[in-house]
Every structure is written in structure tokens, then in C-alpha cells.
């Protein structure tokens, strides 16, 4: 099962035979379709999990005094895609608000990249997420969710409005459909790959 004898397969070292995990963040404002996207590709129904803001952000060792404060929690939805016996991909839907980024240290561990889900009627709600990933050099792609079936603007118009690097993929999508969500994830992963290759062999001038 998960015996120590699993050893090395395809050059990926396994400790105790337990597989490794990576994740992709799905960031965006409230109601933009994060959970829908997670659910459209996940092999499990999306799960919700909570973290305390006070405990995690303040780094308290005990809860002395905390009982008087209201404890704020942030919730995340996530799903799973088993890639192979040794590799699992998790998708985490994360709120776009800045107050959420206190969790970044934990969120960033094992994160290949991020999808910023945007809504054409409220593009400004994705600015905070885009800035955040740009500043940290996290590969990301923008998915413009057209879940009303209306494509109110073109890819180029969205790109211009968001003012992102030309290398950042911007896609119109309908994340209720698995194929559409897959297209966004694959566009992101191509971006992740090209950034990784650039890091290995920087383009010479």
C-alpha cells in the first residue's frame, strides 16, 4: 500500500510512499463562480474549510484574552484531482479581498499558479488579486466568466481593462462546464511551464 519500499519512480522521490500534492488557487470576488469552477473539475464534491483569522494572523500561542474578541473565520472551497498515484492536484477557491492574504504563507506552499476569475460587470473586483500575484511572481491566468451566456466584451477589451502582461493568458469561459474550466487550467499550466523554463534557461539577449 504505502510501504517504504515504493522508492523512486520516474525520478520523483517518495517518502514513505505517500504521494505529494500541488495546488492551484482560484481567486476572485464573491459570486464570480470560484466554487462552480472547482466543482466542475473536482473528483470530489467541493469541500469547505475554515481558518481563524485571529489565531493565524496574530500567531498567538494560546487563547488568553482572545475569548473577548469576536473570532473571524475565512472559508475556502476546494476540490481534488488525482493526477497519479504519486501526485495530487488540489484547487482552492480563495476570496479576492485583501483581508484574506494573511494566510498567504500557508496558501503559497505547493502552489503552482493561480486563476483569477473575473466578472465583466465588476472587473475592478479582480484588481487586488492580479496585483497580489504580479507582485509575488506567481504565474496566473485570467478567466472571464460569462455564465449568463453573454459575451459582453472581447478578450482584448478585458486584457486592456486589466492591463496585464501580454504573456498572461486571458480567456473567456463558462466555468459551469468542465471543458471550459479545463481550458482555463491548461492555459495557466502552459504559463507555469514557460515561467519554469525561463527560470532554468533565462532568455539571452
Amino acid at each position: 500500500m504505502y510501504a517504504d519500499s515504493d522508492g523512486i519512480e520516474d525520478g520523483i522521490e517518495l517518502t514513505g510512499g505517500v504521494p505529494g500534492a500541488v495546488k492551484i488557487l482560484i481567486a476572485g470576488g464573491f459570486g464570480v463562480g470560484k466554487t462552480t469552477m472547482v466543482g466542475s473539475v473536482s473528483e470530489i464534491p467541493p469541500l469547505e474549510t475554515e481558518e481563524f483569522m485571529t489565531a493565524a494572523s496574530m500567531g498567538v500561542d494560546d487563547l488568553e484574552g482572545v475569548e473577548q474578541k469576536s473570532t473571524t473565520t475565512v472559508a475556502m472551497d476546494f476540490g481534488r484531482i488525482t493526477i497519479s498515484g504519486e501526485l495530487v492536484l488540489y484547487l482552492f477557491g480563495t476570496p479576492g479581498q485583501q483581508r484574506f492574504w494573511f494566510m498567504w504563507d500557508d496558501l503559497s506552499v505547493g502552489t503552482l499558479g493561480a486563476v483569477v476569475l473575473a466578472d465583466t460587470r465588476r472587473l475592478e473586483t479582480s484588481f487586488a488579486s492580479i496585483d497580489f500575484f504580479e507582485q509575488r511572481g506567481i504565474p496566473f491566468a485570467v478567466g472571464v466568466n460569462c455564465f449568463h451566456g453573454k459575451r459582453e466584451c472581447t478578450q482584448d477589451e478585458v486584457r486592456a481593462a486589466l492591463d496585464v502582461d501580454p504573456a498572461v493568458p486571458v480567456l473567456l469561459c463558462d466555468v459551469r462546464h468542465r471543458e471550459s474550466s479545463k481550458d482555463v487550467l491548461l492555459a495557466l499550466l502552459e504559463r507555469v511551464m514557460s515561467q519554469a523554463l525561463e527560470a532554468i534557461a533565462p532568455a539571452t539577449t
Partner: protein
């Protein structure tokens, strides 16, 4: 507890009475009651997607406290991420990390840290691409 700090018992009782009535009492079982008041896990740094599996799938859990037993039951057959355990048990992530720290100390679980992505291995990215294409 409070007596250690030299607070007069009356004052402590009054403070406790204020703190624990009605909505101040919070959920029926306060999350950190389960962890004995600790909010930091012992030992390993656990991440949201650290994978956890029972060291021995036949581990008997009947004499264990309910929450650690539930964790072992969940990851008896297949590895689950820390976040997944928290989601299924409906407990906050930080609480689950404390419980997992205890299970690590008792050598009841194996964990696997997330794949390092500071300089991501292109073979791993390629595998993820292939896996997503197969969906």
C-alpha cells in the same frame, strides 16, 4: 488555571461567568477544547495540502478520543490533505493541525510535504498538464 496567576478566585469566577455565558460561550464545544487549549501544532510544519495517511491501516481506534480516531479512520485507506480532513470533520484548519501534531508524535500517521515549487520541476508540471487534459 487562573489560580496560578494569583487572581482572587472571586474575580476569576466573575470573569469566567462573564466570558462564558450566552453568545460569548461560542459553539457548544469550543474548537480548542478538543486540543487541550493548544493552538500550535507540535513538531512538523503542516501545510494545507500536506498529505496524511495512517501508518498502519489496521490501527485500532476504539480507545482513542473521537477526533484523532476520526482522522485515522478518514486517512486509513488513502492519503488526504490537511484541508480535506478539516473539511470532512468540519473543524478549523488550525485545530486539525494541532491534532495531527499529536498523531505525528504518537507515530500513528505518515505525512508528505507539498511538492516544492520554488523552482518547479518541469516533469511535475508536465504530469499535471497531462492529468488535467485527461479529465
Amino acid at each position: 488555571m487562573t489560580e496560578d496567576r494569583g487572581i482572587p478566585p472571586d474575580a476569576a469566577a466573575a470573569a469566567a461567568a462573564q466570558a462564558w455565558f450566552d453568545r460569548h460561550a461560542g459553539p457548544l464545544v469550543r474548537p480548542y477544547t478538543i486540543t487541550g487549549g493548544r493552538t500550535r501544532p507540535r513538531g512538523d510544519d503542516l501545510a494545507l495540502i500536506t498529505l496524511v495517511v495512517a501508518r498502519d491501516p489496521r490501527q485500532v481506534t476504539v480507545r482513542m478520543r473521537p477526533e484523532p480516531a476520526a482522522i485515522l479512520e478518514l486517512c486509513r485507506e488513502q492519503p488526504l490533505a490537511v484541508a480535506e480532513i478539516a473539511g470532512r470533520l468540519d473543524l478549523p484548519i488550525s485545530v486539525v493541525k494541532v491534532l495531527l501534531g499529536d498523531l505525528i508524535e504518537d507515530a500513528l500517521i505518515l505525512t508528505r510535504a507539498p511538492v516544492a515549487v520554488d523552482a518547479p520541476d518541469v516533469r511535475i508540471i508536465q504530469r499535471v498538464i497531462e492529468g488535467v487534459r485527461r479529465l
